[in-house]
């Protein structure tokens, strides 16, 4: 697996991965739906898969002493590593940003642990859709990305939409809707109070669990599908 990962980083990695990782700085934009920054990283993963296809990576890998299953695992693991690096950078930028800037964000989710959990779930959704769709053929990167992007954008719109709505509703003086009050007081708030800490940590653990579950499931389905693919 080490040799395969070395191949992913030395031969397959698309240089835009670094540019898109740099977009974690978008988390410092005042009043912005920050989950959009995570969508950009999905682009970098798509570019890497597409570059692999253009360079006959599957054919090259098939000649190496690895099974098809290992080839799938390595490529997915590459994406996971990039996502983890992105999340780590994001945590750093969020912490740093909150030292100097107001963490509250009327344009979407605040820079909070909840946001971090939502970002993790976003990658989980992308992995489940993109990997499984790509490995159905081993070459349809574009349409797989489109499907993944639709899933990701639905998630962004739901999460950011709810947070924006809760801000807007509460600011208008209507404090009667309990769900929006809950969002505003426990989920979309930073620094967190004791109760909010608990809620946000539960969200984080749930996010990580969803990520692991979806990604493992995605890899398993992808392996099964790719076994049937003829490499040309």
């Amino acid at each position: 697996m080490k040799a395969l990962l070395n191949k992913e980083f030395k031969l397959c990695l698309h240089p835009t991965v670094f540019i898109y990782l740099g977009l974690v700085l978008m988390l410092l934009i005042p009043s912005y739906p920050y989950l959009v920054a995570c969508f950009f990283l999905c682009n970098a993963i798509f570019f890497t898969f597409q570059t692999s296809r253009e360079n006959s990576d599957a054919m090259y890998t098939a000649m190496l002493p690895v099974s098809k299953a290992q080839a799938v695992k390595a490529k997915c693991l590459f994406a996971v590593i990039v996502q983890i690096i992105d999340l780590a950078l994001m945590a750093g930028v969020m912490a740093l940003g909150n030292l100097f800037l107001n963490p509250l964000n009327p344009g979407g989710t605040d820079r909070s642990i909840s946001f971090f959990a939502f970002a993790i779930i976003l990658y989980a959704i992308f992995n489940l859709i993109f990997f499984t769709s790509f490995y159905k053929t081993g070459y349809k990167a574009g349409s797989s990305f489109l499907k993944g992007a639709i899933g990701v954008w639905i998630w962004i719109m739901v999460v950011e939409g709810l947070m924006i709505a809760s801000h807007a509703v509460l600011e208008s003086g209507n404090t009667e809707i309990p769900f929006f009050r809950f969002l505003h007081e426990y989920v979309d708030i930073w620094p967190a109070t004791n109760g909010a800490w608990m809620v946000q940590m539960i969200l984080l653990v749930a996010g990580i669990a969803i990520y692991v579950l979806f990604t493992v499931l995605a890899v398993r389905i992808s392996i099964r599908r790719f076994e049937k693919v003829d490499i040309t």
């Binding site: 080490k2 030395k10 360079n55 054919m59 002493p65 690895v66 099974s67 098809k68 003829d230 490499i231």
Partner: protein, 287 residues
């Protein structure tokens, strides 16, 4: 001992079926895998190594099921599918650096000597190489990890005669120790005349025969006769070509021995293939 056993390999595509390919490759031998373009040579090789998903059949490498032990078996196999077509914008040294990590048996001095012998510059990108040089690079990679079995799909196509001759010499020297084997698909029959011990012949997805090169040639005779003989022997001819003075054709050895009045000569591999492949068995000079 057989290093490779292919049993009943089947793959259906729309318009083409690989129909129960069965053959063995013996240790210490060069097996020539011949057939026309589209006969199923590459499909067979791809199905053998799980690049294409076979619909049926089994492949054994050193007695082990290759599919069940894919990674371990591939460590002992060097595969060249034509010229290098991957990572065209990468330098050869970058591809080599990545590739050698996969093999415990990687022989760097051997690799360096092959690069020198093939006049390959490691700082060049794949896209800067000619077709022949790309084949040579693929071969340098495949030869440098001491594979017990080399599977080469059209390795000599695109090479100049000097390089081809050099390569055939290298093939012979690889199998000299009796432990290495080569399966070598080609439609350049003259290359096989020089180096193959065994021949497997595939036509339209079916293995016609798999035997040693001498028996393969000895099973047939080239015959020639005058036009009036043609009618008498037409049934026995595998294929023939008629011309102004008569005809030349191919017959099974036992048929040729029973004929009288025809000139009989030993058959070469190229003639066997050409006459066997003629669609309706014959061609006249006027056609």
């Amino acid at each position: 001992m057989n290093i490779l056993e292919v049993r009943n390999l089947t793959k259906k595509y729309p318009g083409f079926t690989l129909d129960g390919a069965t053959f063995d490759v013996e240790e210490g031998c060069v097996m020539g895998f011949i057939g026309r373009n589209g006969a199923g040579k590459t499909t067979t090789i791809k199905c053998m190594l799980n690049l294409a998903h076979a619909d049926g059949g089994q492949v054994f490498f050193e007695g082990k099921d290759l599919l069940a032990n894919e990674a371990a078996c591939k460590k002992e196999i060097g595969l060249v599918l034509g010229m290098v077509s991957y990572y065209q914008r990468k330098k050869l040294k970058t591809i080599t650096e990545v590739t050698k990590q996969f093999y415990d048996e990687w022989d760097e001095p051997l690799y360096q000597s092959l690069m020198k012998r093939f006049a390959l510059d490691p700082d060049k990108k794949v896209t800067e190489l000619s077709q022949g040089m790309r084949v040579k690079y693929a071969l340098a990679l495949a030869l440098s990890h001491h594979a017990k079995l080399l599977i080469l799909d059209e390795p000599t196509s695109g090479l100049d005669p000097v390089s081809r001759d050099e390569l055939l010499y290298i093939f012979r020297s690889i199998i000299e120790d009796g432990k290495h084997s080569i399966l070598f698909s080609t439609h350049i029959i003259s290359d096989l005349e020089k180096c193959a011990d065994y021949i497997t012949y595939i036509k339209e997805g079916k293995i016609l025969c798999s035997t040693d090169a001498e028996s393969f040639k000895d099973a047939y005779r080239l015959v020639s006769g005058e036009s009036e003989d043609l009618e008498r022997f037409r049934e026995q001819l595998v294929g023939y070509r008629s011309h102004a003075f008569g005809f030349t054709g191919l017959m099974k050895k036992e048929d040729a021995e029973r004929t009288a009045g025809l000139k009989i000569a030993p058959a070469d591999m190229e003639s066997i293939m050409i006459y066997t492949e003629k669609e309706d068995g014959h061609e006249s000079a006027a056609e």
